[in-house]
């Protein structure tokens, strides 16, 4: 009897140990990636690197200013497209849990989430690049916006679903119409969850390369025209890392490092604002 109990305690310990070990194992790859990229990239980063344009092969120096500006513009534009659509759709799904339309759009959102990013790039190519007659930053933004949608919709829906019905009833009982209940009560109470979804979506698309290959295309010069090809961080990394020149490899390492820090900072920032804006129910 005693042996049997000891055996069971032992089994339980082994299981516990296993969960701890595997939880730790998940952290290891990230730490290695961080160390590796920081080691290789950090030394390449300086003020010039951030403010200069890339130089032709053979010339020393040169930077990634065009890719930084390009990435920021493309992402901002994608956010402007995706945020209103995403949040409104999320509100609809959470307020009409059982309607037929909600069922189908939820299904579509789930499928959209699983569509490979390269496919979205190709679709954007046929929808926008071809009709517009050439590669353009705006078509890249649209492709990225499509990738942001499922993340924003799902996080908005899940956040708002968690708000108690008593809150909606309190608002309706004061004679508030639907749009005011949503805009003045539901959204403000769920703002931290909605914002964290938006931020995560931005972090997610910051490093997307595939949808931009057929759309924004890349550009070795500075460009502010959304209707023309534009450089972006992931495209620069892709093009320069696959080139045969060492100078360009260095630029790619530096850019990877910046992109990594950017995404990391976004994630940490998200955690901070989520905590700060959290409405205590």
């Amino acid at each position: 009897m005693a042996n049997h109990v000891k055996y069971r305690i032992g089994k339980s310990r082994v299981f516990q140990g296993l969960t701890i070990l595997l939880a730790f194992a998940c952290v290891v790859p990230l730490i290695f990636i961080l160390i590796y990229i920081l080691q290789a990239g950090l030394t390449k980063i300086n003020w010039q690197f951030l403010t200069n344009l890339p130089k032709p092969v053979g010339e020393k120096g040169g930077g990634i200013a065009n890719a930084l500006i390009g990435s920021i513009m493309i992402i901002l534009c994608a956010s402007v497209i995706a945020i209103p659509f995403g949040i409104l759709c999320g509100i609809y799904l959470s307020e009409n849990k059982k309607s037929r339309l909600a069922y189908w759009s939820r299904l579509c959102v789930d499928i959209l989430q699983g569509v490979p990013s390269i496919v979205i790039g190709i679709v954007a190519y046929f929808w926008l690049v071809k009709p517009l007659g050439g590669f353009s930053a705006i078509s890249g933004s649209v492709a990225l916006a499509i990738m942001m949608l499922p993340i924003i919709i799902r996080s908005t829906e899940e956040t708002l679903k968690l708000l108690p019905d008593s809150l909606r009833e309190a608002a309706y009982a004061l004679g508030m119409p639907f749009h005011r209940v949503v805009l003045k009560v539901i959204v403000p109470c769920g703002i931290s969850g909605i914002m964290s979804g938006v931020m995560l979506a931005v972090a997610r698309i910051a490093g997307e390369t595939a949808p931009l290959l057929f759309t924004a295309f890349g550009n070795p010069y500075m460009s502010f025209n959304m209707m023309k090809p534009m450089q972006s961080m992931p495209l620069l990394i892709f093009n320069y890392a696959t080139s045969p020149y060492n100078d360009w490899h260095d630029l790619a390492w530096g850019a990877s490092c910046i992109l990594l820090i950017w995404v990391l900072a976004l994630n940490i920032f998200t955690k901070v604002i989520t905590r700060k804006w959290k409405v205590q129910l």
Partner: protein, 252 residues
């Protein structure tokens, strides 16, 4: 002579095919406290929520018949107007967690986009909080969030929020069932004060509470209004055997 403020005529309510309130006819006199009691699932809350058209917010819920407010059928009015005239307080205190105590009181104006001068807002806040005996307790922390208060205070804040809209009728859906005994008695004392200006309809499954606070009591059973009488008569001399069984505790 008492005047009738709310009159229910052949009111029926359904959830899908489920007939939960059956042909209720009831006259509710102005400036009275009416208690609605009955066992769980007897339709008392559904009836209450029918009065200010909250019932139909639930998917699949429908209603038939008439609810007259000052001889105007609320079923024909826009629900928003109905709810401005008939305030409601819920079972669990539900102050808006994103608003301060001050803003919670004037939430009905603020969130409906009705602009008021600062002095008027201050007056409404002080007046409403005084009415619910909360002013002294919170006057120095009006900028704090509503969720900072205790459960009993939150419930009084919710009553203040309803009172601030100056409705004619106040509906209470088991307002004290989530409160401790001391907060319960504070809220019960409020009812006596509030009935000077408003008509109160209180759903409760606590018979002692019905006996303590109300002028008239209605007893619901299986969706029917079994008996409706002056509270004293009801508890001393019930006419229907079902009422008798209920108040003597044969079923609950």
């Amino acid at each position: 002579m008492e005047s009738t403020i709310v009159k229910s005529i052949n009111y029926n309510a359904y959830f899908g095919d489920n007939h939960v309130v059956k042909d209720v006819n009831m006259d509710i006199p102005r400036n009275h406290v009416i208690a609605v009691m009955g066992p769980s699932g007897c339709g008392k809350t559904t009836f209450l929520r029918g009065i200010n058209r909250m019932h139909e917010l639930i998917p699949g819920a429908t209603a038939k018949g008439q609810i007259m407010l000052n001889n105007e059928d609320v079923m024909e009015m826009h629900p928003i107007f109905v709810r401005l005239k008939i305030g409601m307080v819920f079972q669990r205190p539900n102050p808006f967690p994103n608003l301060s105590i001050y803003d919670n009181v004037i939430a009905g104006y603020k969130l409906n986009g009705i602009k008021l001068p600062k002095a008027e807002k201050d007056r409404i806040v002080e007046h409403s909080l005084t009415r619910v005996a909360l002013w002294k307790e919170v006057k120095d922390s009006l900028t704090k969030k509503g969720s900072f208060l205790s459960g009993g205070q939150q419930q009084r804040l919710c009553i203040a929020r309803a009172v601030a809209m100056e409705p004619e009728v106040l509906l209470f859906d088991e307002p004290t069932s989530a409160l401790d005994p001391i907060s319960t008695s504070t809220v019960e004392e409020l009812f006596h004060e509030l009935k000077k200006n408003y008509t109160l309809i209180i759903v409760t499954h606590n018979m002692q509470q019905a006996a303590r606070v109300s002028d008239r009591t209605a007893f619901f059973y299986m969706g029917e209004l079994v008996e409706y009488d002056i509270t004293k008569n009801m508890f001393t001399n019930p006419k229907d055997t079902r009422t008798q069984n209920y108040i003597t505790g044969r079923f609950s």
